[in-house]
């Protein structure tokens, strides 16, 4: 992995393997299931090929070492010991091949068990079955005026034709009512393929659906930790109860990602103004909480290890409160990456950490490759990691470093997301960056105070109300900015739809990034010269 030393070079060594892994994951997702199950053979071939490459390269290295054993050594090339030429990149090729192979193996193994045969058989027969499982995530309201709620349940057993069979799968239970997260439920229903729509196509790994006409029967309560988490989530609602409607809906959304109470017109406005990400639990939540805990523990004077442990514990707590959904776990990982990238104070660490996270997440779950949330997360983090620091360097000469950093974070993240959002929703929001800038100062207080109010709501409602009022003020500002930006003229400019539009956006973005990164060298040097001269004089 990336060396932990103070190499200041931009560490992109893990980027090619990450790209290879992503391509392999796309193959896993889109290839027919039968083909994916035949992957082990392909992987064997791949491993043989990469071993051959490795062996050839190793032989070359040995020969090169013998040659360089001569007294006259060639000076190291510009790339250090990496040298150049096709043989020097052999390690990268092998690593990329291994990454792709790992994803293929994991995908093949996963696809064999993702939908157990007992469940597919039940879906094919269309008979009523009974399942037992734990509620995996909070119930969501049905789409399109459907009064039923959808609850993901991690099924552990299914009864078909009177026999219980052990399985492991996630079913989406559509029932008149849901059940608390982590409760064990039993429910009767008919297993069906999920209805395919736009969202169905985007989420290739969507779970099968169990349609039940009666509410799930809870047979065991949630475990204590989850009960505490439910209390905190409930606290987010109760503490916001006395606030105006926009704020009442937005506060739980910003703190724990529960968007059920957000008015529909506000959701539309947030989307139009490019602020929808504020309503979901993203890596930013974990980054904000982590920085806060680090700052607090640093102020107290704890040693570094304890500070990091405290931040990790806070992150884990947020993870539990928000829910164990995969998207939240992924957000936590990306938030940790962002935090590492930013707080390490080394730009070099950012891309390496991001690539590591992408690699590991893709190996663990190749289905993430087509998960919109994951793609957006990676894009935003990549923007932050690659463009953030150069933008600050460019702007700090004119507007001061702190202001520049404040501006650069949302701009870099937005720019990173741009190709993805344009590919999915071909509407260019020219006010998105401005709206995000306007909202930036409010997001952290809203999140932190909101979480605090939710924690306090159970034990000290009066104080929780006061804290929630502070968070509510921040939420009011966010809602006001969203409504204002959505109402501005030209809030939704049509962009070239489809892949072509995304590619165009990407090209524009890369060109802009290259310009920024290029110029920044000269600018930084100029800057530095003047700064150095100034300090020497002073």
């Amino acid at each position: 992995m990336s060396s932990g030393s103070a190499v200041a070079a931009l560490d992109l060594r893990l980027v090619p393997p990450a790209v290879a892994a992503w391509c392999a994951a796309l193959v896993v997702v889109h290839a027919p299931a039968s083909a994916v199950r035949a992957v082990p053979a392909a992987v064997v071939a791949l491993v043989v090929v990469s071993c051959a490459v490795a062996a050839a390269a190793a032989r070359h290295v040995v020969r090169a070492a013998r040659r360089t054993a001569a007294p006259r050594r060639t000076p190291p090339s510009r790339l250090g010991r990496l040298g150049s030429g096709p043989r020097a990149v052999a390690p990268a090729v092998v690593l990329a091949a291994v990454a792709a192979a790992a994803v293929l193996v994991s995908g093949a193994a996963g696809s064999a068990v993702r939908v157990p045969e007992a469940i597919t058989a039940a879906a094919d027969s269309g008979r009523t079955v009974e399942v037992v499982g734990r509620v995996a995530a909070a119930p969501r309201a049905g789409s399109g005026g459907d009064p039923r709620v959808r609850t993901p349940v991690a099924v552990s057993a299914i009864r078909v034709d009177g026999t219980w069979r052990r399985v492991r799968a996630v079913l989406e239970v559509v029932a008149p009512s849901g059940a608390p997260v982590d409760a064990v439920v039993r429910v009767h229903g008919v297993v069906r393929e999920p209805s395919s729509g736009v969202s169905g196509r985007l989420r290739a790994g969507a779970p099968l659906r169990l349609t039940a006409s009666e509410e799930p029967r809870v047979t065991a309560p949630p475990r204590p930790v989850q009960r505490w988490a439910a209390r905190v989530r409930h606290g987010a609602h109760t503490s916001a109860a006395g606030l105006p409607p926009d704020v009442r809906g937005l506060l739980p959304a910003v703190t724990v990602g529960d968007t059920a109470g957000v008015p529909d017109d506000l959701v539309t406005a947030m989307r139009a103004s490019g602020l929808a990400h504020v309503m979901a639990v993203s890596g930013a939540h974990f980054a904000i909480l982590g920085t806060l805990v680090l700052a607090a523990t640093a102020a107290v004077g704890l040693p570094r290890a304890l500070r990091v442990a405290a931040a990790a514990a806070a992150g884990a707590g947020l993870l539990v409160v928000v829910g164990p959904e995969p998207s939240v776990v992924r957000a936590a990982v990306m938030g940790g990456v962002g935090l590492v990238g930013l707080l390490a104070g080394r730009r070099a660490a950012g891309p390496a950490a991001l690539a590591t996270a992408v690699l590991v997440l893709l190996v663990v779950d190749p289905q993430l490759a087509v998960d919109v949330g994951f793609v957006l997360s990676v894009a935003a983090t990549a923007g932050l990691v690659v463009l953030g620091a150069p933008l600050v360097a460019r702007w700090s000469a004119r507007i001061g470093r702190d202001v520049a950093a404040l501006l650069a974070a949302p701009v870099a993240a937005q720019l990173g997301c741009l190709p993805v959002t344009l590919a999915l929703w071909p509407t260019l929001g020219p006010w998105a960056v401005a709206a995000n800038l306007a909202v930036t100062p409010a997001v952290a207080p809203a999140t932190v105070l909101g979480l605090l109010a939710a924690l306090l709501a159970g034990s000290w409602p009066a104080l929780a109300g006061v804290v929630a009022a502070g968070a509510g003020a921040a939420c009011w500002w966010i809602a006001a900015v969203a409504r204002c930006a959505a109402a501005l003229p030209g809030a939704g400019l049509a962009w070239w739809p489809g892949v072509a539009g995304a590619v165009a956006a990407l090209v524009v973005l890369v060109a802009a990034a290259v310009l920024v990164l290029r110029d920044e060298d000269d600018d930084a040097d100029d800057d530095a010269d003047t700064q150095a001269r100034r300090t020497i004089r002073g």
Binding site: R81, P91, V98, V113, P139, A404, A405, T535
Partner: protein
């Protein structure tokens, strides 16, 4: 620290650089200070790597103009890598080595970004795309382990083998997420939640209301009601069925028409889904022998509690459901 006699491999030079950076940061070296930084300034370690190499490890630039920097051969002035005047706080009492995160720094995202920008290395020639063999091997090992773990977990996944699912121990009725109150209260409820109460009538010794443990079967209920009478038609009730709280169990006498079936063409003209036999069900519009059989199968498995449950029966779609709804009851 003496200038490197020959050009060392990048690794060694780099280690020297790190050492020098630490040394320069912890014990302010007047020579280093005079070369790269004004007095009172202390370069932060990550930023100071390249700077200190020229100052500490490789001597002043004039000594050896063509010293290859370990990471940046096209040596440009290194002053930009010096930190702003607020840097000395890194030398606070709890930061003997002046590694930035150890100092009482302000770890907000914004200031961290600002700091990252301050220590920004020039990018053009400073990207590393290719890992060394060792790093690649380590990464490959980690990836292989991760993939192996996933494959192992997948191979240990249950494949639908039969299993005994314990009958529910507690029937905790709790609201939708965010309302943990009821579940918390019902936790300690104990007995009432673990019982079913059913009404047994018909050909049993002592008809009446009986209480049974949750998960008990019809046979248990009949036993609790004193057992069946000799003329009881036990074939008419499914003795193995799990009891539902609040239900009424009717044990018919041999030869008697099952009471429910008799009630099928009731006064209201509605067909009782739980009572009507297959023939009665076939009188419904759109219900043929096959569908009627499926409805019977479904209710044998579990009696209908609402008319809406009809829609669980295969072959009854929304349209048929709408036609049936006014004609049936439970």
């Amino acid at each position: 620290m003496p200038p490197a006699p020959s050009r060392p491999p990048a690794d060694v030079a780099h280690r020297l650089a790190v050492l020098a950076a630490h040394r320069a940061a912890s014990t302010p070296d007047p020579r280093v200070g005079s070369v790269v930084a004004p007095a009172g300034w202390t370069p932060r370690a990550p930023a100071a790597g390249p700077a200190a190499v020229r100052g500490g490890a490789a001597g002043p630039p004039d000594d050896e103009p063509d010293v290859p920097g370990p990471a940046r051969p096209d040596a440009a002035p290194d002053a930009p890598r010096i930190d702003p005047p607020d840097a000395p706080r890194d030398d606070g009492p709890d930061a003997p080595h002046a590694v930035p995160p150890d100092g009482p720094w302000d770890p907000s995202v914004v200031s961290a970004l600002a700091h990252a920008a301050a220590s920004l290395p020039p990018t053009a020639s400073r990207t590393r795309w290719v890992p060394g063999w060792r790093a690649a091997g380590a990464a490959a090992l980690v990836l292989a382990l991760a993939a192996g773990g996933v494959a192992l977990r997948a191979s240990s996944a249950p494949r639908g083998e039969p299993v005994v699912v314990p009958t529910p121990a507690v029937d905790v009725r709790a609201g939708v997420d965010g309302d943990p109150g009821p579940s918390a209260e019902r936790d300690g409820a104990g007995d009432p939640a673990q019982q079913v109460v059913v009404h047994v009538v018909g050909a049993v010794a002592s008809p009446g209301v009986v209480q049974l443990a949750l998960g008990a079967r019809v046979a248990d209920a009949l036993e609790a009601a004193g057992g069946t009478l000799p003329d009881a038609e036990t074939g008419a009730v499914n003795l193995a069925r799990v009891l539902v709280d609040g239900e009424q169990l009717v044990v018919p006498v041999v030869g008697a028409t099952p009471p429910a079936a008799a009630a099928a063409p009731a006064d209201d003209g509605l067909v009782d889904l739980n009572g009507a036999d297959a023939v009665a069900l076939q009188e419904l519009p759109g219900v043929g022998p096959v569908l009627a059989e499926r409805i019977v199968e479904r209710r044998d498995e579990r009696p209908f509690t609402t008319v809406d449950e009809l829609d669980e029966v295969t072959g009854i779609g929304p349209a048929l459901m709408e036609r049936l709804r006014p004609r049936v009851r439970v």
